[in-house]
Assembly symmetry: C2
Homo-oligomer: 251 residues x 2
């Protein structure tokens, strides 16, 4: 979706090392925004992105026009209902359907052997892995770790929309996730107690408004009541009008 | 879906003439049946179908097991909502979603250059053409004319489920379509009047129960009020517990 940052560069570097030819799509997908103004204000700077892609060894920057990908007579929808129902899907009803439809189209047009995604959008990656498996797409999906600012905030194009005060306060997401991880390390297994701990940390940061925190099975994204094996903590927080997400996998 | 008849053979013959390698899928798709008993009683005779495919020059008969195509953890759905809403879609709510999902999977597995379908399932073909275009499938879709019995009844695997009396009465579908065509030839353009004429013919056949008759734009399948250009007449009729469909394109 452009507005390239270190998260994207880490995917480009990895892909460049592993593949002969690297295609990067640059397309702000109108179908995955529920609110038109969120689509309108999504950061765009194609000239900057082109230069950055070139300097990171991208062989082809695929920048289709919106009408080429979403023509007025489009009528096909790809959805992954069970995986999309909760968490981001609950807050953004048609979001993952928009992602799944467009990613299917991009896969069909580009026909990659390997596709690289960032773990930051954990549920999105889960949805894409499921659809690639279900629709027999002949490709491998590689998930790269979330890249963070020095203070722990996950890199995101949306970060630049934060006011300086909200940007400073946004470190609370990673602090809360880290605290939960430490609690599990310390022996706490009850997810209701862990959730309360996270909520308490969020509450102390008055600029932040907790949307959800969930302890889930890393494959199905169904909530678990006890941390017994590999578990993903999913977190969404509103800072003013900006919604930020983050996650942490604990073992 | 097997139970091969002359309609299928006409597709096989055409494909054999036009292509180097001919794959035929034989898979009774559970997702496209709304009623479990309709799925259960759908005619199946794999041994007979295998012999028939071989004698018609089929290079590969693709007969996946249900669990291979519809595993228990499948969660991806392909749908074409606008084209699927009316007519067969109205009578069979999840039918076209089941068709679109499975055809997408078969296309991805087989990767055909050309795919052959029969015009008898007119709306199904429209849905598949739309999804192939929308999802950028790299293939050509060829639609072959409906093959009919001598008395006009469109060949269908479901015909063998009719009682002898219902089978005899089932000629009413083609008679009604033909009568509508003749009325248009005779100068009638008003689709409400044409619909009434069709309904009247159906009413005279007491074994037949009209589900719908529609005069539609051949691409969008939206109903038209006047026959001004190319128009498709879509017809669905119940004979006892068996539903039959037919259609006729008029110019």
């Amino acid at each position: 979706m452009g507005a390239f940052h270190e998260g994207h560069f880490s995917l480009m570097r990895k892909a460049n090392r592993e593949c002969d030819y690297l295609v990067v799509s640059l397309f702000v997908n109108p179908l995955q925004f529920d609110i038109a103004c969120d689509f309108d204000r999504y950061p765009r700077d194609t000239v900057r992105d082109q230069a950055l892609a070139e300097s990171h060894g991208v062989d082809l920057l695929f920048t289709p026009a919106p009408y080429e990908i979403v023509p007025s007579d489009i009528d096909t929808v790809v959805s992954v209902p069970s995986l999309s129902r909760r968490w981001e899907g609950a807050s953004r009803p048609d979001h993952f359907q928009g992602v799944a439809t467009i990613v299917t189209k991009l896969f069909q047009i580009v026909r990659p052997d390997v596709a690289y995604f960032g773990q930051k959008d954990y549920q999105q990656v889960a949805v894409i892995q499921q659809l690639a498996r279900d629709l027999h797409f002949d490709l491998k999906i590689r998930v790269m770790p979330t890249i963070r600012e020095k203070d722990g905030l996950a890199k995101s194009s949306r970060n630049q929309l934060l006011s300086p005060d909200d940007r400073a306060a946004a470190t609370v997401l990673y602090r809360a996730l880290h605290h939960a991880k430490q609690s599990v390390k310390g022996g706490e297994r009850d997810c209701r107690i862990l959730q309360k701990k996270v909520a308490l940390i969020l509450k102390k940061e008055r600029r932040a408004d907790l949307d959800y925190v969930a302890f889930c099975d890393p494959k199905t994204l169904e909530p678990v009541s006890l941390v017994t094996g590999k578990t993903v903590i999913l977190l969404a927080v509103r800072m003013g009008s900006i919604r930020l997400i983050d996650n942490l996998v604990i073992r």
